[in-house]
Amino acid sequence: MELNIWRFASPQVIYPIAGRMVPVFMALAALFTLAGLYIAFFVAPTDFQQGESYRIIFIHVPAAWMSMLIYLVMAFWCAVGMIMNTRLSFMMALALAPTGAFMTFIALWTGALWGKPTWGTWWVWDARLTSELILLFLYVGFMSLHAAIDDVRRADRAAGLLALVGVVNVPIIYFSVQWWNTLHQGASVSLTRAPSMASTMLAGMLVMTIAAWMYGIAMSLMRLRTIVLEREADSDWVQELFASPACGAKA
């Protein structure tokens, strides 16, 4: 049994498996997105307070949740990589980071676009949005540290340690921003505490969240395969894969 777990930890084994999983998750993501959008626009009622502008919630909240979740999963893989010293775990964390950063970017933009009609200003110093902005800095920090170090082994472990330090600080930062926000603005209405959540609204948001998960998994597995190819370029299994005259078109 022991051996078989380690078998999965090798990039060579993961590459074809991920290859088969990517289309499945992409299809699921598309399916759930369509279902989610249908609920969001055609089933969920108009909100008596915010009118139609609240429909931005169906993309803003899943993206925000996803950005936080991906950072946690990223930190998890970094921890596994540091403890078990498996290169594949670091590759997984590296594959997740860009998607997490993009999700944070979406959450910030949709938050601003929602703030404008609701509060009249493009940027609302709401606790959640501010923490989202800081999360974006943590992602960018992780990726730039990894890119700045030439030796891949050291880059993995340095960025991994940064992710662990970051994940420990995220709750502290969130708590401080939350406190700071309530102090300066008095009882500020939190952006995403949408008015009474009709069941269909909640359903729409959950379906879109699942869609975001599917997309996140598909995207990071796809990037993982590219990272594996880049790193194992001169290993013999990659050579064979690309030695065939079709030159890897099918790989």
């Binding site: 800095f137 600080n169 401080s176 921003v177």
Partner: protein, 232 residues
């Protein structure tokens, strides 16, 4: 007598020798120390020129300005903490010491704080006067900085260790470390504005103390791990 068996006495002696050496190095390289000190003063003095001399607005922005300037000044000085030791090979000797690297890193951070943190704390009240801060505000600022600047050195050490020998490390440290400074900034500046408006600063100070204890426990370990990665 084999050093490994000296136990506590050995550790204390080595700890002190590391602090002594770093302080001596700082004295020999006074220019570095003064640059981060004057950087702090200059940045703080720039704001009235940008915002206007109107005392009310100055008093309003003073806490934020002084604290952000303190953050930037201490980060500027981080490079000195480990970079030269990494370059000339003394850092790997530290990693090979018989004493736990975590505590030796703490010694280096303590020396760094004495050289860069303390001057900020001492000069801050003077700069507070520039912003027409009342006495309670000055007291809260100084106390806040006294608790906050060690956290800046501790957390900054992690950033400095992670970016050892990396090109463009200066800017990178800022990107890695500034987000982690935010809680200290919020409660440090918050304490001063609370004091100025007559509220109690009890809560702020206890939180700053909590951050200090937390980073005292966690940061040296993380920096030591980062050093081991860098020295590989």
């Amino acid at each position: 007598m084999n050093p490994a068996h000296e136990g506590r006495a050995g550790l204390a002696a080595v700890f002190v020798s590391v602090v002594q050496r770093d302080l001596l190095l700082a004295v020999r390289r006074r220019a570095d120390v003064l640059t981060s000190f004057f950087f702090f003063i200059i940045v703080v003095s720039l704001f009235p020129l940008g915002v206007g001399p109107e005392p009310n607005t100055l008093r309003e922005i003073a806490p934020g300005v002084v604290w952000v300037a303190a953050l930037l000044a201490s980060m500027l000085a981080l490079q000195r903490l480990l970079a030269s030791d990494y370059a000339d090979g003394t850092l790997e000797q530290l990693a090979l010491s018989a004493q736990p690297l975590t505590l030796l890193v703490l010694a280096k951070i303590l020396a760094h704080w004495l050289v860069t943190g303390i001057p900020l704390v001492l000069i801050a009240p003077l700069l507070g006067l520039q912003f027409d801060l009342p006495v309670e505000g000055l007291v809260a600022m100084t106390a806040g900085l006294l608790l906050g600047t060690p956290v800046l050195s501790l957390v900054g050490a992690i950033g400095a260790a992670l970016t050892l020998g990396v090109r463009g490390a200066g800017g990178l440290v800022a990107l890695l470390v500034l987000p982690l400074y935010i809680p200290v900034l919020i409660f440090g500046a918050g304490a001063v504005s609370a004091a100025v408006s007559g509220q109690s600063v009890e809560g702020h100070m206890s939180l700053l103390a909590a951050f200090l204890l937390f980073s005292l426990a966690a940061a040296p370990w993380a920096s030591a791990a980062a050093i081991r990665i860098a020295v590989e």
